[in-house]
Symmetry: none
Subunit: 295 residues, 2 copies
């Protein structure tokens, strides 16, 4: 959960955003005949008809282009592009937050809060899986399964914990695995010996951290392969990353959810373990012996 500062403005406003369609319906009787034609077309195929060009819209409505322009101006928009932008935003907001309006303003009742939070997280996981290219995932698995590569995990303030989680598993499955601390001072010596044989796996979600970006850019410049786990808005690290695995992170909270990133991490661990099973199994057994023999 990355801090997103002022997320309280994200809460549903007391007065729900009045759909443009609603307003048009309400003002219908004040329109001129041509405007009514435009309004009817728009409402009958709301809002897609409005996403066409002016010419197309005019033609479908049976009026002229200038009439369409006058129509949107009358609705208070600065121009046709302005009008279209509004339609897109409205559509996007409505389509992407099916759960936003479903959540009542309950005052912290235990089970409902937990249950609805869980549903949102589950939605994130589904969306995350949907948006991952199978080939991309497979490519990362292959990369992390290459015993000649050296793997370095790193992350930001919050995602650093995920990097640690990944590292603690991979460390057992294979060799040449380590974790790079967040402090830039601590990189310097590490960075020197990073080159073509190295893989940097970076975790970074919004409020992207400059030092993590700097680390990856330098590493990439030196020939290292960068794998990025991030949010759908893509950390700037994506510019230098060979592979990008985006996860959905928006949750009904003042914080973002890292569950999708964890899912990807665990899936990678599972896949690589399976891939390297012949060598991983003895390693895991050895670790087990060391632990039990220790006390």
């Amino acid at each position: 959960m990355n801090q997103s500062g002022m997320r309280d403005d994200h809460r549903p406003s007391p007065t729900d955003p009045p759909s443009l369609a609603e307003r048009i319906r309400h003002e219908m009787d004040t329109f001129t005949p041509s405007e009514k034609r435009a309004a009817h077309l728009l409402l009958s195929h709301y809002p897609f008809a409005g996403l066409d060009t002016v010419a197309e819209f005019a033609s479908r409505a049976g009026i002229s282009a200038p009439s369409v322009l006058r129509f949107v101006t009358r609705l208070g928009f600065g121009g046709f592009p302005d009008f279209q932008r509004h339609l897109r935003e409205e559509l996007e907001a409505q389509l992407l937050s099916p759960l936003a309006k479903a959540s009542p303003s309950d005052k912290g009742q235990g089970a409902p809060a937990l249950a609805s939070f869980a549903e949102a997280v589950i939605g994130n996981l589904r969306a995350t899986v949907e948006n991952i290219a199978p080939a991309e995932f497979e490519a990362v698995v292959a990369l992390l399964s290459d015993p000649r590569r050296h793997i370095h995990f790193t992350g930001g303030r919050f995602t650093g914990a995920l990097a640690r989680y990944a590292e603690s598993h991979f460390r057992i499955v294979r060799s040449h695995v380590d974790f790079i601390e967040g402090q830039p001072v601590l990189w310097r010596d590490r960075l020197i010996e990073i080159g073509r044989k190295d893989v940097i796996v970076a975790f970074d979600i919004r409020r992207y951290q400059e030092d993590v970006t700097a680390l990856c850019e330098t590493a990439a410049k030196q020939g290292a392969t960068v794998v990025l786990l991030t949010d759908p808005w893509l950390s700037p690290i994506a510019r230098v990353a060979r592979h990008v695995l985006p996860a959905h992170i928006v949750a009904p909270s003042n914080w973002d959810s890292s569950a999708g990133l964890l899912l990807l991490t665990e899936a990678l661990v599972a896949a690589v373990t399976k891939h390297l099973w012949d060598t991983a199994k003895p390693r895991m057994e050895a670790v087990e012996r060391l632990r039990s023999g220790r006390s």
Copy 2:
């Protein structure tokens, strides 16, 4: 032999709605780096990102306009307007038939590993939520929202990362929060000053770690309140814990999944943040100021 300009995909047959997104996902590995950037942007904000102008799309994807054009041409469209029209029609068709979205779940050979793993994890999350007593969850929220308490997070080899994750969030929301390292040597001095006012939040799943258990037992003996996040088989810490939140952890992997623990952690963070909002908000803002002013 590749795309022949205008394929029949322009007129989708009623039987299969092959979302463009799906096709992109499957062809992802055949894309050039720039095309991958474009694809990632489009998929992450599907399909709205594609409804912008070429320039805007290019800018958001971090590539040049020609690369965007090459991308859509490569997908088989006659040009950007053609591409946009396709997106609009697909969106309209999907939105007008609510059942179309209902079953895009299995796409077979693509990423069975990732998809089935995700389904297993989702099942874990559901089971976890159902088995949590609302009152227990609420009690923990109340405990962690008490500003007079001192909160200490700790965990085992793998779960230690989750404890860190929790700590990094709670540290911002409230004061008197810290993380206790796994090394028993490092406890000694800390343990001295732990008493009735303290809360230990321990993460521990099977292959329960003796040192974590020892820490909690000692702390409990000194009057501290112990909260335990564990698996359904219950870590031995449960004997001294005031509150226990079990999470399902079994996944199709050689490793256990911590997703359920993360879910509980994030839900706790969300609930406590909401609970302490009046004091948490200024803290979050202050942290934000410090971060932005740092560079």
